[in-house]
Subunit: 220 residues, 2 copies
DNA sequence: AAATATTTTTCGGCTTATCTAAAAATTATA
DNA sequence: TATAATTTTTAGATAAGCCGAAAAATATTT
């Protein structure tokens, strides 16, 4: 049995590992808004429970068991987010904090019934894939924004050209890791694309930008 | 801000006060499956936070503030139970443990939207009244089962004739405090009544029994 | 490679909630 | 009304999780 806190650490480690980086104590502390010393304490505990691989000073990774636990929590989080948006009419950017609480409710039967009630959704309102009851999560390949069709959307997962000025531009336009991008229109004459960022700002991006920004396509 | 634990104590005190008894340390310990010394510790804490009235050795009662908190938790508990039964098709006797978890989710907006989603129910699946957003809870007067009409149901809240043999009979038939009773049919010739107990057993009870057993009528 | 900077861990201490055992207060009984 | 039984509180411990400061390890500069 894992405490809420343990669950949050496992989930954080999973999330950080998705971003490709190697997972350091500081990265976790930063992600969880806590102190490095607290993280070290917990890493020892999780290691003792065999949910993570941990060697002092060497960073961490999830074990099979830890990964399964993390996926269960993420499954619940994303199903509840879907519920909040689809059934209770919350906006997609209002649901995270509530789902952070709901993800810790323990009842596999509840989770499975909720999934069915929602019509077995494959993606949550942010476009993130929902793991199934066996922990399988659809890993769609990352494609360039340039390859999205009109009205398709995705979540930014990577950048190819990573010059400082390019990253600066992306930062300014909120085209950062995790942002949701929807293609509103595509223009033939210069291959530029009109996109909606995070359901908030609209902007036109050049072919250079759209070819170098990779997203996880959200398929419904 | 109250911890889960504090919320559980406040709810327990509210529940026990509903049963008329005066609320002792041991009663709370027994209700919460914990030790008297733990209860004393918490009573001091709650008293310091002015959610209960507490004098050493003299038992406790809720303050205005404590009562408001308790009612908010009970409101959430009963709304979630309704959700689980009405929307996710759980049986009414399967939902308690899950609702014990869900009742601690903090988001007034969520609670209010859930209420609306469920069509503003006034009673939960057990027949208990659901407090409204201002903490008002419908206190219907207790009536004898004999005075229920066909198809009405209620929850047992008290007994008039309390001879040992009568109580023994009630115990045997699960006609105990908190049981849900639904009147399936009423017979003129001897004023006996066919009832369904806890959605499980059916039995015919005499007029003597139905006149001495009081329920909280569940009005939908 | 030595010096310096950064990251990570250790150490001691704090808070919350729990428990057992013993002491104090209350209630019941003889 | 003393004595006994019960209830409640106190005192001292424990475990989880968190923190700041100091020490240790690793990474970066010079």
């Amino acid at each position: 049995m894992n405490s809420f806190t343990e669950e949050n650490y496992l989930k954080s480690i999973y999330m950080l590992s998705q971003q490709g980086k190697n997972i350091t104590t500081n990265a976790i502390a930063n992600y969880l808004n806590t102190k490095a010393s607290s993280v070290t304490d917990m890493l020892k505990k999780l290691s003792a429970k065999k949910t993570i691989h941990y060697k002092k000073y060497q960073g961490v990774s999830l074990t099979k068991s830890g990964s399964e636990t993390a996926l269960k929590i993420i499954r619940k989080h994303r199903l509840w987010e879907t519920f909040l948006v689809e059934k209770l009419n919350f906006k997609w950017d209002e649901v995270h904090d509530i789902a952070e609480q709901l993800e810790h409710i323990i009842s596999p039967e509840l989770t499975n019934r909720l999934e069915k009630f929602l019509d077995n959704p494959k993606f949550d309102p942010h476009g993130d894939p929902i793991p199934d009851k066996n922990g399988n999560i659809s890993q769609q390949k990352n494609i360039a924004i340039a390859d999205l069709n009109k009205n398709e959307s995705g979540k930014i997962v990577g950048v190819k050209d990573s010059s400082a000025s390019f990253l600066q531009y992306l930062e300014n336009e909120h085209l950062v890791l995790g942002s949701k991008v929807k293609v509103l229109d595509k223009f033939d004459f210069d291959n530029s694309v009109l996109v909606n960022v995070n359901n908030k700002s609209k902007l036109t991006i050049s072919n250079h930008v759209s070819s170098n920004l990779f997203v996880n396509k959200a398929v419904r």
